[in-house]
C-alpha cells in the first residue's frame, strides 16, 4: 500500500509510473505495427503468388454459379418420379461403389489402427521399451503422417497396380501415422502406478503393456479410431481420383466427361454417406464414453 503523498501528480513514484505506462504503450503499438506489417506483407505476397485478386475472383464467381446451375438437375413437381429416376439412373451401381468405399475405409482404419497401437506403445516416451526404438518409432510415425495419403496412393498405384488395394494401403499408412501419434500422447499422459505394481510383481514389458497400460488407454483408443474412421471415409471417396478404387473414380469421370447431372447426384450421395457415418460414429462414441462415466 502506498501512502497518499506518493499518489499525487508530481511525486517521483507517479512520474515513474507514467513513464512505465508510456513505455508499455509504445511497446504494445510496436508489436502491433511490426506484427501487422509482417502479416500484411505475407498476405500480399501470398495473394500475388496464388493469383488471388479481386478482378479474378469477380471473373470467376459467375462461372462458379454457372457451373452449379449446370450440374443441378431439372425436377418438376408433376414429373417428380421420372425426373428422380433419370437423375439417379445408375443408382444400384453407385450404391455398390459406395459400399466398396465404406469397406475400404473400414479395412484401412483397422489395419492402420493395428499398426498405430503397436508403434504407439513403442513411441511413448514413458513406457517405450528402449530409447533407440522409441526414437525410431517416432520418426516412422512422423514420416507416415506427414506425406499426404494421396501421395502414398499415387506411389502405391504404381507398385501394387490400379484398384482398391493401393488406396487401402495408402489410407492405412497415413492413418497409422496420425493415430499412432495420438495414441502415444494418450499413453504418455497415463498414471504409471499400475505399471509399477506389475513390474514389482515381475511382469515383462509385454505383460505390463497389456495389463497396466492398455486398459487405461483403451477408451481413448476406441474414440480416436472411430474419429479416424470418419476421416477415412472422406478420404476413401477421393482415392478413385488417382485410380485407387471407390466412388471417386466415377466422380472424376463425370467431372472430366462433363456428365453434369451425374456430378450433383454423386456429390449428394457422398455427402449423405459421410453424414450418416459421422452420426453413427458419434452415437457409438457417446455410448462408450457414457459407459465409462457410469462405471
Amino acid at each position: 500500500m502506498m501512502s497518499s503523498q506518493h499518489d499525487h501528480p508530481g511525486s517521483t513514484a507517479w512520474q515513474d509510473f507514467c513513464a512505465q505506462q508510456q513505455r508499455a504503450r509504445v511497446e504494445k503499438y510496436r508489436v502491433w505495427i511490426v506484427g501487422g506489417g509482417v502479416f500484411l506483407a505475407l498476405f500480399l505476397t501470398s495473394a500475388y503468388l496464388s493469383h488471388f485478386s479481386p478482378g479474378r475472383i469477380a471473373e470467376g464467381l459467375p462461372k462458379v454459379h454457372e457451373y452449379i446451375v449446370k450440374i443441378l438437375p431439372e425436377i418438376g413437381v408433376t414429373t417428380f418420379r421420372d425426373d428422380m429416376a433419370y437423375w439417379f439412373y445408375a443408382f444400384p451401381d453407385w450404391m455398390l461403389l459406395l459400399a466398396e468405399t465404406l469397406l475400404m475405409a473400414y479395412v484401412a482404419t483397422l489395419l492402420g489402427t493395428l499398426g498405430a497401437i503397436v508403434l504407439g506403445f513403442v513411441a511413448a516416451r514413458n513406457v517405450g521399451p528402449s530409447r533407440g526404438l522409441t526414437i525410431l518409432a517416432r520418426r516412422l510415425l512422423e514420416i507416415a503422417r506427414t506425406v499426404p495419403d494421396l501421395v502414398y496412393a499415387l506411389i502405391f498405384v504404381f507398385a501394387f497396380g490400379l484398384g482398391p488395394l493401393a488406396g487401402i494401403l495408402a489410407i492405412a499408412v497415413h492413418s497409422m501415422g496420425a493415430s499412432g501419434k495420438l495414441f502415444s500422447e494418450a499413453i504418455e499422459n497415463i498414471d504409471l502406478k499400475p505399471l509399477d505394481g506389475l513390474k514389482a510383481a515381475g511382469a515383462n514389458w509385454m505383460q505390463g503393456m497389456r495389463f497396466a497400460v492398455f486398459p487405461l488407454v483403451a477408451p481413448s483408443l476406441v474414440s480416436y479410431s472411430l474419429w479416424r474412421f470418419e476421416i477415412n471415409v472422406r478420404t476413401a471417396t477421393v482415392m478413385g481420383i488417382v485410380g485407387a478404387g471407390g466412388i471417386g473414380q466415377e466422380l472424376i469421370t463425370a467431372i472430366r466427361m462433363l456428365y453434369y447431372e451425374d456430378v450433383s447426384a454423386l456429390i449428394l450421395l457422398i455427402v449423405i454417406t459421410v453424414s450418416l457415418t459421422d452420426m453413427l460414429c458419434e452415437r457409438i462414441r457417446h455410448g462408450f464414453i457414457g459407459k465409462e462415466n457410469l462405471s
Binding site: 501470398s46 496464388s50 493469383h51 488471388f52 469397406l103 475400404m104 473400414y106 501421395v151 501394387f160 457422398i270
Partner: protein
Amino acid sequence: MTSLCRDERSMVDIERRHPEVFAVSWRRHWLQGVAWGTALAVLIYGLVVFDFSPVRIWNGLGQLGMLLRFMVPPATDPAVVWEFLKAIFETLSMAFVGTLFAALLATPFALLSARNVFRFRLGRFGVRRGMDFLRGVDQLVWALVFVRAVGLGPLAGVLAIIISDIGTLAKLFSEAVEGCDRKPGEGVAASGGNALQCTRFGILPQVLPMFISSTLYIFESNVRSATILVIVGAGGIGYQLSERIRGHHWEEVATILILILVTVYLIDWVSGKIRGRLIEGE
C-alpha cells in the same frame, strides 16, 4: 484401516444382498462376442474382396523397394530444386490465403450456429446443415469443381480451401463460442448493450485465442492438403509431384518428398510455437 477390514469381511454379505451387481451378464458377453465376430468377419470379407493376397503384397513391396532404390540419390540440380521451391512457396501461399479468408468468412456462420448467440432454432439448424455439406465434400472434390469453373491454376485451389474450411472452422468456432462463459455478455447487456455489442464485447474476447489457435491448426492441415490439391491441376507442388511420378522421375520425386517433409515440419514448428504462446498468454 478398520473400515477397510470391515468392508472386506462384509464383501460376502454385500454379494449376497446385491446379486445383480456381481452376476456375470451372459447377455452382454454374448452381444460383445457377436459384435467382435461381425467386425472380424467384415474385415476378412474386405481383405478377400480387395484381393489382399500375400503374393500381391510381396510383389508390391518388391516394386516399392525398387522405387526406393531409384530414389537414391535425390536430384540436387539447382535449377530443378529452385523450380520445386517456387512450387512450395505457391502451395504455402495458397494455404495462407485460403485459411485466412476461410477464417474470416467462417466467423459469422459460427456465431449463427452457436446456441448461446443465435436463439432461432430452425435458422441454426439450417446453418449447421449447410456447414455439414461444405465439410462433407472432400476438399479435392471442391478443387475439381473449381478447376472446371475458374480454370487450371492456384486460384481454384484457394477457392476449394476456402469453401471446405468454412465448414470445418465454423464448426470448431461455434463449439468454442458455445463453451464460453456467458457472464461478460450479461454484463454488457445489463449496461445497455444490444445483441451485437454483447457478442463483440462479451463473447469475442473470450473466444479469440481459441479461434486463432484452431485457425493455425487448420493452416497446418492445409499446408499438407494443398500439396495434393494440385494433383487435379490446382497449381503448387503437387502438380510437379504427380508429373514426376507419372514420368517415373523417381530421384526428383524423392527431392519433392523431402522438401514437403521439411516444409511441413517447419510450419508445424512455427505454428506450434505461436499456439503455445497464445494459450500461455491467456
